[in-house]
Every structure is written in structure tokens, then in C-alpha cells.
């Protein structure tokens, strides 16, 4: 597959670099795991294959032979002969240019191609971690990049399959804690009663929010391990929801944690957009994910 238009920042991502967290290595992987999984499924890839995560459209590519491709993300569509909505498997002819388009609400788009990206894993993953240049392609993709693909015999019968797009405009479900006891009850209540605003400084490390002061009380915390979805509250009280490139440990208290199934809802919020958290307890959250 050849990159024709690279977007603002397109990187190779998979489910993440798990198994190295005790070396301080962030999991990386797709910022929106639900969209990644859907793209891979629709393109007939394995769940542990890699796709391309794109920030800043348009993005365009060609494949040397016939492939089934899928595009997911928020408000995305494919332009070829005509326009095809996202979240649909599409048969692409050899050499045909595929343009990925979005709207002002699009933040992360995912392109998967049948056969998968045939790249070697680095520390068990094909994901790109730009901060310390980890991954088989440890940089954003550029015009002219040629990515090898695995074998695919996908035909027309594989096209036209659809997966429902998540409700990206909706609220994100979150569990209170683990450090909720370090916050006044009124502050914890505020987490689930406030419409926060997404700040433009947000990236794959985390989504920064304004809208309420969530300052903790009491002593400083000893650094502890972190998972994606943690709503961390630094001094100053403005929360950050941590995403795929989060640090493996941190010393700021975590007032709530977004459930795994809704990480994409947080990641896909556009700067200036509102974000609400819906309080859930983990057992039902697990069932619905």
C-alpha cells in the first residue's frame, strides 16, 4: 500500500504494546480501540493486526492489488469512484486511489486493509510510540511510504458489511476512583454533573478538560500505576483523561476512570466540544462492553 496524502499525523497502531509496562513502556495502540477493532474486523484482518491511525484529514492511499478495506472513526467516509460511508467494508481495485475524508468533528480515523500490515513487531507490537521512537515505523507516515501487506484473497463477497458507529456525541461511562476518597464528596459529584470542555492541547497521551475545579484534598500521592481512561487531576484542578500513550505511573490523584468501551468517545471529542461522564459501577459496565 502506498501513501499518497499522509494527513497531519498518521501512525501505525494495533491493540497496544502490552507486557512491557514494568519497563515503563506505555501501551500505545489505537486511541479509539473500538474503532480500531471494527476496522480490522470489517477488512477481514485478525484482531491483533495493525491499522493506520490518522489525525488531520484528508489521507489518501493506493494498493498494488485488489483489497478489501475499511475506514472507521468519527464522521468519516471514503471517496473513490463515489462516496462510501465509514464503518463499511469496501472492495478497492488495484491502483485505485482511496481518499479518507471527515468532518470538523473527526479526530482519529482508522484504515485497515485485508491481509494486514506485514510489519515486524517491536517489543511485541506494531504500534508507534513517537515520544521515544518505538515501533516498526517509529515516525508519522509520509508521502511515498510503501507499507507491505499480508496475503489476501478477499473478493466482492467481503464488501458491503457494516458495523454501527458508536454514539460519539454522547457521554462517557466512568467508574469513580481509585482515589475518590482523596476528594470531597462534592467534587466527586461534580465529576458526574459537569459538562466539561475539551481543550485543544489534547493528544494521544490524554484529553485535557476545563469546566470545573476538581482539586483533591490532603497530602501528595505516591506515584502509582495508571491505566487508560484514568481521569487524573493535577494541581490546579483541571482534569486530564489519559489515553493510549499515557505514562505507566503517575503521582496525581485519579478521581474516576472511563470504562474501556468508552475510551473512543473521549478520544474522539473535538476541541471545544462538551464531554460528560456517566457514573457506572464496573460489573454492568463490563457486561455492556
Amino acid at each position: 500500500m502506498r501513501i499518497v496524502v499522509p494527513g497531519l499525523r498518521a501512525t501505525v497502531q494495533d491493540r497496544g504494546r502490552h507486557g512491557h509496562v514494568r519497563e515503563g513502556i506505555p501501551p500505545s495502540g489505537a486511541a479509539d480501540p473500538v474503532a480500531l477493532a471494527a476496522a480490522l474486523d470489517l477488512a477481514g484482518c485478525r484482531p491483533d493486526d495493525a491499522a493506520i491511525e490518522i489525525v488531520g484529514l484528508p489521507f489518501a492511499f493506493r494498493c498494488d492489488d485488489r483489497r478489501v478495506i475499511a475506514l472507521t472513526g468519527r464522521d468519516v467516509r471514503v471517496r473513490m469512484r463515489g462516496r462510501v460511508p465509514g464503518w463499511t467494508s469496501v472492495l478497492v481495485r488495484a491502483g485505485e486511489e482511496v481518499v479518507v475524508e471527515g468532518s470538523a468533528a473527526t479526530r482519529f480515523a482508522y484504515v485497515a486493509v485485508s491481509g494486514g500490515l506485514a510489519l515486524a513487531t517491536v517489543l511485541g507490537s506494531r504500534s508507534t510510540y513517537l515520544a521515544t521512537a518505538l515501533g516498526p515505523i517509529a515516525r508519522p507516515l509520509i508521502v511515498g511510504d510503501e507499507l507491505p501487506l499480508g496475503p489476501s484473497d478477499a473478493g466482492v463477497e467481503a464488501a458491503g458489511r457494516r458495523i454501527e458507529m458508536p454514539a460519539y456525541a454522547g457521554s462517557a461511562r466512568a467508574v469513580a476512583g481509585p482515589h475518590d476518597s482523596r476528594f470531597d464528596d462534592a467534587v466527586v459529584a461534580r465529576v458526574f454533573a459537569t459538562e466539561f470542555t475539551v481543550l485543544p492541547e489534547s493528544d494521544r497521551m490524554g484529553v485535557r478538560l476545563s469546566g470545573a475545579d476538581l482539586s483533591a484534598t490532603g497530602d501528595d500521592l505516591l506515584s502509582c500505576g495508571i491505566v487508560a481512561g484514568a481521569v487524573q487531576v493535577p494541581r490546579g484542578g483541571a482534569p486530564i483523561v489519559l489515553l493510549a500513550d499515557h505514562q505507566t505511573t503517575g503521582g496525581y490523584p485519579i478521581v474516576a476512570t472511563v470504562i474501556h468501551a468508552d475510551l473512543g468517545i473521549v478520544a474522539q471529542k473535538a476541541p471545544g466540544e462538551g464531554l460528560r461522564f456517566e457514573r457506572v459501577t464496573p460489573a454492568p459496565a463490563t457486561r455492556s462492553s
Partner: protein, 208 residues
């Protein structure tokens, strides 16, 4: 020990909240035990362990019971004999050396002698790839975090804050006090394992 909810696929097990090598060892032993059960990854730190699981493989109730069980009957910490001794050749030329010595009431030579005169245990790795939190730093070295963190600390910087010392594996922002630097590459993604220092290793800073 307390088990706290951490989203829908992890728990936080909290030990007594202070920096103490014995507590660090217990946290590591709990993390090892969780991973031995094959439930998922665990992240030990000073006085806590995050234990993760995949709800598609392990139902929440089962993972919750396993976490509570580990907290109620923690495994005994393994012997420290497993750790290796790593020499870190260090040039003591950091921009915060003089200030840190002065606020500690020491000459720079005395501070260097104190820092290089003891062995440190690598408690855990975190913050960025290959960064090992090591201690315990001599309490005579008074090293609170810098008021405003530096936007860029060069990789290889040897740094201290109260009770602890680290080597920055790569350029990064940072609020620790820089007292020297080393050419030793503590993180190299082309190496296996990429991180030079493992939790439980011992470090010795050797003045150059």
C-alpha cells in the same frame, strides 16, 4: 491493604502509603503473583499495585475475588539476591549540583561523596520507558522538586529528589534536580530487554 476499583478492567491494591524498601518488595511480590496466575499485567510502584484483567477472559467477579485474595493473603517478598549490581559511570556536572549542595549545607564534593557512596535499589520503573525510581537517597541531601519543571531534561541526566535518584533514559520534561550525567544507555529499543535496569537491581554511581 485496600483494594480499590480502577475502571472496569483493573483494581488498585494499596499498601501502607510511604516509601520503604520492604513495602516496595511486597508490592512487587503481589504484582508477580498476579501475573503468575495469568490474569493480566500488573504495575507495582512504591506502595501500590495496579492489577489488570481482560473481562472477555476473566469475569469481573472472579478478578475482584483474586485481587481481594492477594490483598488478604499477600505473598512473601522474594529475596533480593536476584538483583544485579549495575555501575553507572557518572560525571557530576549537573546544573543543580551547586544549589542542591548549598541548600543541604554540604560542599559539592561532600554531596558527590554521599551520592556515590551508597548502593541504591531500583524500586520500580515508570513515568517513561526505562526510567527506574531508585533509593534510598541519603536524607542529608535536601532535594525538593524544582518549582518550575524544565521543559527539556537531556537523556542521561543523573537526578535526585528527596529520598530518590534516577537516570533520565531520554530527553523529557522533568522537575528533578540534575546533579550529573552518564553515557550509559538505560533504554535502547534495539536491545532486548530494552530497559537496562530491572526492579530489584542495585545501582552504584561511580564518579568519572
Amino acid at each position: 491493604m485496600t483494594v480499590r476499583l480502577f475502571g472496569d478492567r483493573a483494581f488498585l491494591i494499596e499498601l501502607e502509603q510511604r516509601i520503604d524498601p520492604a513495602i516496595v518488595d511486597s508490592a512487587r511480590a503481589i504484582a508477580d503473583a498476579w501475573e503468575r496466575r495469568g490474569l493480566g499485567e500488573a504495575i507495582p510502584a512504591y506502595a501500590s499495585v495496579v492489577v489488570q484483567f481482560d473481562p472477555a477472559r476473566t469475569p469481573w467477579t472472579e478478578a475482584s475475588a483474586a485481587a481481594s485474595d492477594l490483598a488478604a493473603r499477600p505473598p512473601t517478598a522474594t529475596s533480593k539476591a536476584a538483583g544485579r549490581l549495575i555501575d553507572v559511570p557518572t560525571v557530576y556536572d549537573g546544573p543543580d549540583l551547586a544549589d542542591t549542595a548549598e541548600r543541604s549545607g554540604l560542599s559539592t564534593d561532600e554531596l558527590v561523596a554521599l551520592h556515590s557512596g551508597s548502593e541504591y535499589e531500583a524500586f520500580f520503573l515508570g513515568f517513561m520507558p526505562g526510567l527506574a525510581y531508585c533509593g534510598t537517597l541519603d536524607p542529608r541531601i535536601d532535594a525538593p522538586r524544582l518549582h518550575s519543571p524544565r521543559a527539556r531534561v537531556p537523556g542521561g541526566s543523573v537526578a535526585v529528589v528527596t529520598g530518590q535518584t534516577i537516570v533520565y533514559p531520554a530527553d523529557s520534561p522533568g522537575g528533578w534536580r540534575l546533579i550529573g550525567h552518564t553515557e550509559l544507555k538505560v533504554f535502547d529499543p534495539t536491545r532486548e530487554p530494552a530497559a537496562l535496569i530491572r526492579a530489584g537491581d542495585r545501582l552504584r554511581f561511580v564518579p568519572r
